[in-house]
Amino acid sequence: MEAATVDPLVFRLTIFVLAVFVGYYVVWSVTPALHTPLMSVTNAISSVIIVGALIAAGPADLSLSKVLGFVAVVLAAVNIFGGFAVTQRMLQMFRRKG
């Protein structure tokens, strides 16, 4: 080991692997009754991919990548709004007796 600095990729891999573990334990604690809302909310949050779309759609000049970015913004927005709204709608239905 002679390199004094760690490649940033290693840091990102660290984040990734730790997040897989967090996900593993958190998801096992989800009650089976809420597995459908789990799927719809994971759907909504995976649309955080919109950050990439916003960067593509952000430059002032029109270009192919700006158009691709715009379409991706629309798709991700459908998912974000639709995903969170339908999750909320489902969760409202889960009520106790009385």
Partner: protein, 461 residues
Amino acid sequence: MGANLSAVAYLIAGICFVMALRGLSSPTTARAGNLHGIAGMVIAGATTLAAPGVLSYGLILAGLVIGGAIGTVIAIKIEMRAMPQLVAAFHSLVGMAAVLVAAAALYQPDAYGIGTVGTIKGLSLVEMSLGAVIGTVTFSGSVVAFAKLQGMVGGAPVVFPGQHWLNLAIGVAIVAIGVRFVGSESHGLFWLMTALAFLVGVLIIVPIGGADMPVVISMLNSYSGWAAAGIGFTLENSALIITGALVGSSGAILSYIMCKGMNRSFVSVILGGFGAAEGVVAAGGPARPVKSGSAEDAAFLLKNAASVIIVPGYGMAVAQAQHALREMGDKLTKAGVKVRYAIHPVAGRMPGHMNVLLAEANVPYDQVLELEAINSDFRATDVAFVIGANDVTNPIAKTDPTSPIYGMPVLDVEYAKTILFLKRSLASGYAGIGNELFYRNNTMMLFADAKKMCEDIVKYL
């Protein structure tokens, strides 16, 4: 906004998403969890909008308004019965968005700080390829799953000789092209790789039959997460990496739970071909006598019971019987009968689907129990009321090693004093096998439309 501040904001967004999933451990905390998710999304979006490269907001605003309006309208209008289709459709959008972002990064790498056209870092190209390929597979696979669930194409598995070799060959081709793409940054190769991935997505979903749909949806959920993570690496964005990892592992766990609920190995589900014979009357031998009853008979048995366990299956949802069923349950509860609902892990068409359908019909969630929690109670139960379910009650899964469902966990309705089977006919379920319970002495078949029968029973209670 400085790069360090942005990085912290993305981390906070990631934590919000963890909290959103954590909230789902109980229905009482779930709504707060969802709000955390929304907060995380707002933080991530706002941080990106404040980035130095984002200069023009007109198109972005238009995109958000269009997409937001479509998404909101769908979310309000969608029937709970159609949730599996909706989720499949949403997965396809995540997949497509991942591909578009990867392509945008390829055409304008300077916006993402990963180099300039022609000199993109090799590592970024690898990450980009992973995101694009997984995203495309998610997209086309979800479209096929959507079409199957929506009934636009037949749910029967499509199998042909050499199928798996073909998939393998295309997979190898994708890797080979990917290696050359990383070496050359050729846009043509990028799209060729994507086109082949599109084909793979279709080919891996077509052989999977209707009964395995819950696994398919969970699997695609997982893929959409890995695609997002791949793009997260390209964009060096921690919120995206964290989220991708969360979603990827969530989908994988759900796939595992669904496979276990059917006692199938993940590999055998992927290889497909299960559940070809659908709705066939159990073949072989002369017709055996069954006891069938009327709504009045059923009402008599139910109201004289001390405890009733209702076992709903997807057939209940098809018949839209959940509201009538809940009314029946309410009447019985009022009459002093202990009423509970037993849910098999694969009772619906996606994980947890039946719970949502019952919740929609205002069944209190504390009356709804999972298989492990309630299975030992059937012995002390007077009436098991099976509505629109079949295979998940079949005792053959415990006794006959040659049965296709052998080893699948089943609800022990056979131990109840009386079994009421509400079904339209003696046809078999998804697995294409007959159910011995129909012919038992303590079974009474109620041949009718599920909704009509529940309404009639209510009249006699």
